[in-house]
């Protein structure tokens, strides 16, 4: 469903994403993990069409994002990590606007919008201007806007940030149902517990390159980690174990 071929992004002499190759089949939740500054958000923004790759290809259901941008984008629902929205539109107006951009409208879209607004407890706020929304409400509106046009792929950067436990649970269930119906989710997250429970396949990116990929079992095997949790595997492959030593020396120094 999603294929990245030699995807590279350079900023001057700095390479943020270094020729990554990935294939995500339909009906899967794909977790994209990595430490800060590893290249996750850059990759996701390139997939959403917000950032142009220096080289490489992004294929969405066979459509090249560079050559057939509108066809490819019409299949994607994008949830960015920072919920910037039109402050002067009401929640429902924003949803209609997004639906219109994807060429959707009419009764069916209205009903769908209402269902999502109800699901996320936003119905009573739908007529209020977005400028009065809390961070969590914005995040929920953003998620709704990505789902309103029934995309085939959801590309999401840090989906759980700002969500209350109820909404986080709803989102997890929503993603599961969505992939069960043939959709695909490509998500990046720092919340490893969520990724471990939710994702069917995982990839770990470090300094712009993929350093491990596969199911949880395959990752354990790659990291030679027995029954370890994702957190331990992650620390092992990204060199995070060094941090434990630094922490120990800090404790010695401060007497903490």
């Amino acid at each position: 469903m999603v294929r990245l071929d030699g995807l590279t992004k350079r900023y001057g002499s700095f390479t943020a994403v270094n020729g990554i190759d990935l294939a995500v089949p339909r009906g899967m939740i794909f977790g994209f993990l990595g430490p800060n500054g590893a290249g996750k958000t850059t990759t996701i923004r390139m997939m959403a069409g917000a950032l142009l790759p220096t080289s490489g290809r992004i294929l969405i259901a066979g459509d090249d994002l560079a050559l057939q941008p509108e066809r490819a984008k019409s299949r994607i629902g994008y949830i960015p990590d920072r919920p910037y929205l039109y402050e002067k539109l009401s929640g429902i107006e924003f949803l209609r606007f997004v639906a219109g951009l994807w060429g959707r409208g009419g009764e069916a879209t209205e009903e769908r919008a209402q269902r999502f607004l109800d699901l996320f407890n936003l119905s009573q706020w739908q007529e209020e201007l977005i400028e009065s929304y809390s961070h969590g409400m914005r995040q929920k509106l953003l998620i709704t806007s990505a789902l309103i046009h029934q995309p085939e792929v959801i590309v999401v950067d840090e989906p759980m940030v700002g969500l209350d436990p109820r909404s986080a649970r709803i989102l997890k269930d929503l993603f599961r149902t969505y992939v069960g119906n043939g959709g695909t989710v490509f998500l990046s997250s720092h919340t490893l517990e969520v990724a471990e429970v939710l994702c069917d396949i995982l990839a770990i990116i470090h300094e712009g390159s993929i350093i491990a990929r596969g199911t949880m079992e395959e990752l354990r095997a790659q990291a030679d980690s027995g029954e370890a949790h994702l957190e331990e595997i992650f620390l092992k492959v990204t060199g995070g174990e060094d941090a434990a030593e630094i922490m120990a020396s800090l404790r010695d120094g401060t007497g903490a």
Binding site: R45, A48, G49, A50, L51, L52, P69, E70, R71, A72, K73, S74, I76, Y78, P80, Y84, L85, Y86, K88, L89, S90, E93, R96, F97, V98, A99, G100, L101, W102, G103, R104, G105, E127, E128, L129, E131, S132, Y133, S145, A256
Partner: protein
């Protein structure tokens, strides 16, 4: 754990992020040499122009025996009074963001920093942000006075001594006014309120200044007798106004009998105001800041939205939603739509100026003069339209900055986005430009030829100016700017205005030939048709080609720029 030895950060420390931020931005700005060159050149040109105009006026005044110095003082008083009004308004609006809405305030309020130091730092920031443009404008003004009166370097030291408290007073007053308003209304409502009050005031001052016709001061024959005229000149606008104190301090020095009292009054009042302002801040800011965090729940304009939706019923969903969104966002943002009031006054003042032009001095002369003026009116009216386009169309792409993630990830052709914005800009501009040219032509009673030519040209120019504004706005965007009104004052805005003026000059030069042929034929009493045809066709074809280029090139470049945009 032992508490760290806290050293209370001083005023300079609090201002450091702003100063450092500006320096870093300037240092990392690509093409800063080119920008510096263009901006420096343009500033020098305007400085020289202002200096020359004021200097010439002052020389003329000085040659008027007896009343020359009074006239010079009156002019300075008027200029400083205008500055004071602008400064007060600007400080009120700026302090709303520096003291209440700015994003870094949360950090500052959470930090263990002395509230008085926060007040000091924010006051300096407010004053600098609100006053820099007035200070730049004042430089050639004071230089012209210094030159005319052959004042020595002590005059310029005095100027600095006068200007600093003169800037402090409206800064403290404006900040205190905002503080009081925010304590009564939530800040976001206050912003709406202030935008309205401010604009009505500005519009009122503009209209009042114009309708008072200050040019009559240099035409004493319009007064009943000399005593009346002298009385007007000698009366200060108000002894309570700092502009009057500043004028007295400076003029007394220039006239050779320096009176220190007005300067001391300025300095002591400024000092007292700072103390008063600091007390008010201590007392009322915490509550006001807390209220400022409240959001607005206002939703309005359903009828207007429905009307636009109905008008665009046949359009595809993307175009319809983009246009409806543009209209909604514009009319719900009071800092945006309220500028229409100022625009209205600008148009009225412009029409009024045309109406009071002293053109009817003799029959033969009048014919040439009126038609020439009405042709040149095209350039001036075009300039007004360019200024409006700079304010409303130029920021159109910049305001999408934070929403570009959505527009870029949607299956939306960037050209469609541009077209929506282009028509949303062009139609209202046509509604301003065409009545403007038609009404002024009717007032001037021009010939049908000039009427048709200028109206057609104005329609063409409106299409071109909107495209230029939109294109330049996309080429030189300010995606991070929170204040829409600031966007046109950027480097790109200046480039747009320069290009717009060049375009208008080009059109006028191309059309000058047919107009000249027509006017000279009419003046000689010859039938104009045969003479006009060839120049008219060539001139209009040239102007049309220039217009087509001015529409296509900036839009194409803008579309390309947005398509290639990397969103970090």
């Amino acid at each position: 754990m032992t508490a760290p030895s806290a050293r209370d950060p001083g005023l300079a420390w609090l201002l450091r992020p702003k100063v450092k931020g500006r320096l870093n931005r300037a240092r990392t700005d690509e093409g800063r040499l080119f920008k510096g060159f263009v901006l420096g050149g343009a500033s020098l040109f305007f400085w020289a122009l202002i200096f020359l105009i004021i200097w010439r006026m002052l020389l003329y005044f000085r040659n008027t025996q007896g009343i020359g110095d009074l006239l010079a003082g009156k002019l300075l008083g008027l200029a400083l009074l205008t500055f004071l009004g602008i400064l007060l308004l600007s400080n009120v609006i700026t302090s709303l963001s520096t003291f209440f809405l700015s994003q870094d305030l949360e950090l500052l309020m959470a930090a263990p920093v002395d509230r008085l130091k926060v007040y000091g730092a924010r006051l300096v920031e407010t004053m600098v942000n609100s006053s820099w443009m007035v200070v730049l404008l004042a430089v050639p003004l004071f230089l012209a006075y210094g030159f005319t009166y052959r004042a020595g370097s002590a005059f310029y030291v005095l100027v600095v001594g006068v200007v600093v408290p003169f800037l402090v007073l409206p800064a403290v007053t404006g900040t205190a006014l905002t503080l009081m308003l925010v304590n009564v209304f939530p800040a976001r409502r206050t912003r709406d309120l202030l935008a309205l009050v401010g604009l009505f005031t500005a519009a009122g001052i503009m209209a009042l200044l114009r309708f008072l016709r200050p040019e009559r001061l240099v035409r004493p024959e319009e007064f009943r007798d000399l005593v009346d005229f002298m009385a007007v000149l000698r009366t200060p606008s108000s002894v309570w106004l700092p502009s009057e104190w500043a004028t007295s301090a400076l003029m007394s020095y220039l006239n050779g009998y320096f009176d220190p009292f007005p300067l001391l009054l300025l300095l002591s009042t400024a000092a007292a105001f700072i103390v008063g302002g600091a007390w008010l801040h201590q007392r009322f800011h915490p509550v006001g800041f807390s209220r400022a965090q409240e959001g607005s729940h206002l939703r309005q304009g359903r009828v207007r939205s429905r009307l636009v939706e109905r008008l665009l019923m046949r359009a595809d969903s993307q175009t319809r939603e983009l246009v409806v969104k543009e209209v909604r966002v514009f009319f719900r943002d009071s800092t945006q739509w309220s500028q229409l009031i100022l625009l209205g006054v600008l148009v009225v003042v412009y029409v009024y100026n045309i109406k009071v032009l002293p053109l009817y001095t003799g029959e033969r002369v009048s014919f040439l003069l009126i038609n020439t003026v009405s042709f040149l009116n095209l350039g001036l009216a075009g300039f007004v339209v360019a200024a409006i386009a700079a304010r409303f169309v130029f920021p159109a792409m910049s305001v999408e900055g934070r929403m570009m993630w959505l527009l870029r990830s949607a299956p939306l052709d960037v050209r469609r986005l541009f077209w929506s914005k282009y028509w949303v800009g062009t139609i209202p501009l046509l509604l301003v430009s065409l009545p403007l040219i038609v009404v002024t032509n009717l007032i001037l009673e021009v010939t049908p030829f000039i009427f048709v030519l200028s109206t057609a040209t104005m329609a063409m120019a409106t299409f071109a100016l909107t495209a230029l504004a939109l294109g330049f706005g996309a080429l030189y965007p300010s995606y991070e700017s929170d204040n829409v009104a600031e966007i046109p004052t950027s480097f790109g805005g200046l480039l747009f205005m320069m290009t717009a003026v060049s375009y208008l000059a080009g059109v006028i030069v191309l059309e000058a030939w047919p107009v000249y042929a027509f006017l000279s034929a009419s003046f000689r009493g010859e039938p104009p048709r045969n003479l006009v045809d060839a120049p008219l066709v060539l001139g209009m074809a040239g102007a049309a080609t220039l217009t087509a280029l001015a529409i296509v090139l900036p839009l194409k470049a803008g579309v390309r720029r947005v398509e290639e945009l990397d969103l970090l």
